[in-house]
C-alpha cells in the first residue's frame, strides 16, 4: 500500500516533537498515576470499606440476631448458625477476597503482552465483583431470615392475609430498589472506567478467533 509506505517514510523522518527536559521528566515521574489500575485499586478499597461498614451496622447484634434469638427453639438450622456467626463468616470472606485481590493486583505488569495485561486487570476487578455479589447474597439472605422471624414472632398478634401481602410487597420493592441501585452503580463505574478496556480486550480476542 503506497500511502502507508509514504506515511512510514515520513514517520521515521519526524523529529519535531516538543522537547521535554530532564528536569521536567524528573518532576513527571514523581507524580501520582491516574491510570485505570490506580482507579480500580482506589474504588475497590472504598468498596471493601463501605461493605464492611454496612455489614458491621446492618448485621450486628442489635439487628438480626435479636430476632433470631426470639425464635431460637424453631430456628435450630444452618441459617441460625450462619446468623449467629455472621461476624466471623463476613470477616473470613472479606479477608479471603482482600488476599485474592492483593495477589491479582500484584500480577498486573505493564510490560506484559497487551492481552495478558488486560486479562489481569479484568481478573483483578472481577475479584471485587465476586466479593460484592457474595455480600449482596449474604445481605439478602439475612434480610429474608429477619423478615421470616419477624412474622413468626408475631404469630399471636394474627396478621391478616392482606397485611402479609402488603408487607411482602413492600419488602420485595425495597429489595428490588436495593439491587437496582447496586446495578446502576456498577453500570456507571464500568461505563466510565473500563468500557474502553473491555472493548479493546474484545477486539484482541476477535483477532485470534477470526
Amino acid at each position: 500500500m503506497k500511502e502507508l509506505d509514504l506515511l512510514k517514510k515520513h514517520w521515521n523522518e519526524t523529529k519535531d516533537f516538543p522537547k521535554v527536559s530532564t528536569a521536567e521528566i524528573e518532576k513527571m515521574i514523581h507524580k501520582k498515576s491516574s491510570s485505570i489500575v490506580m482507579w480500580i485499586l482506589f474504588i475497590s478499597i472504598l468498596e471493601f470499606l463501605c461493605l464492611n461498614l454496612v455489614s458491621y451496622f446492618f448485621l450486628d447484634d442489635d439487628g438480626i440476631n435479636v430476632n433470631v434469638s426470639v425464635n431460637r427453639p424453631e430456628s435450630n438450622s444452618s441459617f441460625a448458625f450462619m446468623i449467629e456467626n455472621i461476624d466471623y463468616i463476613s470477616g473470613t470472606i472479606s479477608l479471603f477476597f482482600i488476599v485474592l485481590f492483593y495477589f491479582n493486583y500484584r500480577k498486573i505488569h505493564v510490560a506484559s503482552s497487551t492481552k495478558m495485561l488486560m486479562k489481569q486487570i479484568i481478573k483483578t476487578r472481577k475479584t471485587v465483583n465476586y466479593y460484592i455479589y457474595t455480600n449482596i447474597v449474604m445481605i439478602l439472605i439475612c434480610f429474608i431470615i429477619a423478615t421470616v422471624n419477624i412474622f413468626q414472632s408475631n404469630e399471636n398478634q394474627q396478621f391478616s392475609t392482606e397485611n402479609y401481602i402488603i408487607a411482602i410487597s413492600v419488602l420485595s420493592i425495597v429489595c428490588l430498589l436495593f439491587l437496582g441501585v447496586v446495578w446502576l452503580y456498577y453500570k456507571l463505574v464500568y461505563g466510565i472506567l473500563i468500557k474502553r478496556l473491555m472493548k479493546n480486550h474484545k477486539e484482541l480476542e476477535k483477532i485470534d478467533l477470526e
Partner: protein, 164 residues
Amino acid sequence: MNKSLEQDFIQLLDKNQNLIHKVCRLYTSDDFSHKDLFQEISIQLWNAFPKFRGDSKFTTWAYRVALNTAISLYRKKDKSVNTIVFDNTIHKFEYSDYNYEEEEQLKLMYKAVHQLNDIEKALVFMYLEDKNYEEISETLGISEINARVKMNRIKSKLKKILNP
C-alpha cells in the same frame, strides 16, 4: 528507589522520548492529551523500571509499556476527533523534498489512521516502527499468523477509508 537508578532512567527516557511522543501522537488528538499521556507513560515506565532487566533493548521494552499504557491504562479525556488538530499535526512533518500531492496524501492517511481502533493503531504503530511480526505478536499477545492477517485487513480498511 535510589538516586543513581533514577538518573539512569531519566537519561534513557530523555534519549528515547521521541518514541513516546510518537505513541502519544497516534493515540491523542490535541496538545493537552498528548502531554497527559506522555506523563502517564513516563510514570508507568518509571514504576516498572526496577523490573527492567536489560536483557531486552530499552526501546523494545519502552514501546511495549507505552503502547500498553495508551491501550489499557490511560483514561482518555478527549472524545471527539478534531480535524483542525490533525491538520496542525500533519504540518509538523518534515519534508526533505516538498511535494504538494504527497502532503495531501499524508494528511488523508493520517486522518485515516486516526479512525482506526486502539488495537489497529498499535499494529500500524509497530508496522511504521519497522517491527517484525514476531515482535508484534509478542507485544500484543496474539499469534504471528493472526497479526499478519490483521495487518492485511487494516491495509484494506485504510484503502476503503481513503477511497470510500
